[in-house]
């Protein structure tokens, strides 16, 4: 069962994935259906991130081609 995290701005599902040769974490955006798989080294590197470094990912303009324009 995936773990669901929901607030007033977003809903995501999080679970581990074993389909590759090694374990990964899946993060699925419930609204767009899009998912990202992150390996342990990527996740370990994320612990050094500052929230302001994630700002570019939060810019809705960046998501246009993937979400808003999705047919």
């Amino acid at each position: 069962m995936p773990l669901r995290l929901i607030n007033e701005f977003a809903a995501v599902e999080v679970e581990s994935d074993e389909t590759g040769n090694g374990p990964r974490l899946v993060i699925r955006d419930v609204r767009s259906g899009r998912a990202v798989l992150l390996d342990p080294l990527e996740l370990a590197s994320l612990v050094w991130v500052r929230h302001e470094e994630l700002t570019p990912f939060l810019d809705p303009a960046r998501l246009e081609s993937r979400t808003y324009r999705r047919s």
Binding site: N7, D59, A61
Partner: protein
């Protein structure tokens, strides 16, 4: 031509030292002027820092009638932002509280970080090169300051500092907060919200009215005193307690003369001896023996700070005006950081037993406020009489003081109100 409202309200004629006109409770124009001159200009209590303990935590609150967001950024700094998208004016946050480092407006997707900076907008090619994100940050509340974890804000860029505004209240806030062995309050236990069909000022005045408890709350007093026959000694004519006007709208029912009668080591009612001993030891560690005994003996001070925060027993009461005849009161139980669990549980249960929807005290007050608002419709003689104890009022210890059942505190509120409204 139809009758028009007076262009000018003469507050000096409506508010005299020994009486006030009922018009101040129902007049729409006066309410609008209060919003401008008090709620959107003076220092107003907004929230407690412990309500946003983690980076990313946020609250939505009204400041007067304006919606604001209280957020804590990843560097732990607290921001007060107007909850109004810079695009079309929607509120960007809807929840009472949550955790997010960014806020996305649900209407057109404009997205802000929790410092209020505009991060981006959808379909950005629709804006030309003169569109600069930095011109569209969420508006900030002009002045924000804290004292002992209490966050106050002013929508005016100029005016007295929070320090000047609080004045003598700082000493009373210290007395309230120092009941925690660690010197910190924790407001993480939710809130009771009561709305009533009446004017906001009734709740403020009532909070420091020592004349009504034995009468309006008679049943509750009998129950709480458990037949010990000392009702008169606390809220009656033989009480040693005092009503004090400390200036600036800081009003106190000074119960110290009663509390300190029995010294600092008396187990408060309802506490187990073990819990009290643990608490006393923690207080001695936190404050030193002499200070700990004094703080415990005095107990929580009972006072209000104009216009919207009241300290009674274990809680903060926060007044929120909605309209001239509608108000919401928020009761926040406060926990004492470093105190034994049993004592904090006791503080919580006291809040809901006394001030819950079926509590022993609060429902009486709400009934009284609504009867007031109906009574104000009778306008042949509009005066309310506030002369009780005027003949025996005196200066004492830097305050104007009267007997606890005197209307010294109400007169203090109205003097301050008149000063603010005619400034």
């Amino acid at each position: 031509m139809a009758t028009m409202l007076d262009a000018h309200v003469n507050y000096g004629e409506l508010i005299l030292n020994d009486r006030i006109s009922g018009r101040v409770y129902y007049d729409q124009q006066i309410f609008q002027e209060e919003i401008e001159r008090i709620w959107h200009r003076e220092w107003v209590y907004v929230a407690h820092e412990s309500e946003v303990p983690e980076p990313g935590d946020y609250l939505t609150r009204p400041l007067g009638l304006q919606p604001v967001i209280v957020s804590r950024d990843e560097d732990r700094k607290i921001h007060l932002l107007l909850n109004r998208c810079m695009h079309r004016g929607n509120t960007v946050c809807q929840s009472d509280s949550g955790n997010s480092h960014a806020f996305r407006c649900a209407y057109h997707g404009w997205t802000y970080n929790n410092r209020g900076d505009l991060v981006g907008v959808p379909y950005a090619s629709g804006y030309d090169t003169s569109f600069r994100k930095e011109d569209f940050a969420l508006a900030k509340v002009p002045r924000v300051a804290s004292y002992r974890g209490l966050i106050f804000a002013s929508l005016s860029a100029v005016g007295p500092t929070l320090d000047e505004h609080l004045g003598e209240a700082k000493r009373l806030i210290d007395q309230f907060v120092n009941l925690s062995p660690d010197g910190e309050l924790v407001l993480r236990s939710g809130v009771l919200k009561h709305s009533y069909k009446g004017n906001w000022k009734m709740a403020l005045e009532n909070s420091v009215d020592g004349y009504h408890p034995n009468i309006l709350h008679h049943a509750a007093m009998v129950m709480m005193m458990k037949g010990k026959n000392d009702m008169e000694a606390v809220f009656g004519e033989s009480s040693d307690a005092m009503a004090r006007d400390l200036g600036h709208g800081v009003e106190q029912l000074d119960l110290n003369p009663i509390h300190t009668k029995h010294g600092g080591r008396v187990v408060p009612p309802g506490w187990s001896k073990e819990a009290f001993e643990q608490y006393h030891a923690a207080m001695v560690r936190g404050h030193g023996e002499n200070a700990a005994d004094k703080i415990i003996a005095e107990g929580p001070p009972h006072f209000c700070i104009f216009p919207n925060i009241i300290f009674i027993l274990n809680q903060f009461r926060v007044i929120q005006p909605v309209s001239v005849n509608e108000t919401v009161i928020h009761y926040y139980p406060t926990l004492l950081k470093g105190a034994p669990e049993e004592i904090n549980q006791r503080r919580l249960s006291e809040t809901y037993l006394i001030h819950g929807p079926a509590g022993r005290v609060a429902p009486d007050d709400f009934e009284a406020y609504e009867r007031n608002q109906i009574g104000f419709q009778a306008r042949v003689n509009e005066w309310l009489v506030l002369r009780r104890g005027l003949h025996r009022e005196r200066r004492d210890n830097g305050s104007t003081a009267g007997h606890e059942t005197d209307e010294t505190t109400q007169r203090g509120i109205w003097r301050h109100y008149r000063e603010v409204m005619t400034r």
